[in-house]
Amino acid sequence: MAERYSSFTTGGTAWFLQRVTAAFLIVVLAFHFFLLHFVNHASEITFAGTQARMENIGYFLTMVLFLIAGAFHGVNGVYNALVNQGLSGTPKKVVLAVLVIAAGLLIVQGVWVALVMRGMI
């Protein structure tokens, strides 16, 4: 069997959720890049265009889910990489708290921005 390298302990909840969000992010990240660089060029993006896209409830919900999944996947990845590199004890708890707070703030800010774009705030 080939050698296997991963920062995650196989079978745990963190490992499982990382895979579930990965499967979702693969599709949505590719869609996001395609829509905002090839269909609509990034340099031509306007507030009116963003508002029009966000008016579509499906698009709005996908973007909010995209943010939540991305924030979780990223922060969970960083945390497990650090634990894998030997982070333990109190520093581990502090890092976890900082990452959870950072991800929480990112999601709150992102959802606020999304609601503003949709004209709901």
């Binding site: 069997m1 080939a2 050698e3 296997r4 390298y5 991963s6 920062s7 196989t10 895979r19 990965a22 499967a23 992010l25 693969i26 990240l29 590719a30 890049f33 660089h37 090839f38 060029h41 990034a42 340099s43 031509e44 993006i45 306007t46 507030f47 009116a48 963003t50 943010l67 991305g70 924030a71 990223g74 922060v75 990845g77 960083v78 990489a81 590199q85 030997g86 950072a102 990112l106 800010q109 992102g110 606020w112 921005v113 503003v116 774009m117 004209g119 705030i121």
Partner: protein
Amino acid sequence: MSQSYNRGLIEDFSRWKEFSAGMWAWIFHKFTGWMLIGYLFTHIAVLSSAIAAADGQTMMLAGEEVNAYTGTLQGLESLFIVRVLEVGLLAVAVFHILNGIRLLMVDLGVGLTAQDKSFYASLVLTGIITVASVPTFMAGVGL
């Protein structure tokens, strides 16, 4: 089926000449992951100019008065360095996606014997997609 290996200290990067394909894949995946989560924070910060725009704030862009969101995004897009960084971001994202698919397959036990080849395939495909996207990403911007 599970087997443990004494892999030594992988984090000792001075051993890079001994690294196998799987090890490089793991390091690249970690590196691109750090870049992507770092970018996500920056991305939301830039998009937050929508709050100012909805508030009626405007700015000057190329001698024209535009709202804060349009001005911020188009102002950034008018910079050559931002376009170069975007191509870099695309390369990082594409590799992370392709190698991520590879990792999901490894976890499902699919194609284990070809895991080194699929890593090389991820690298080559990332290169091709990135180069092919350069004209679109650099459209309408000059040094």
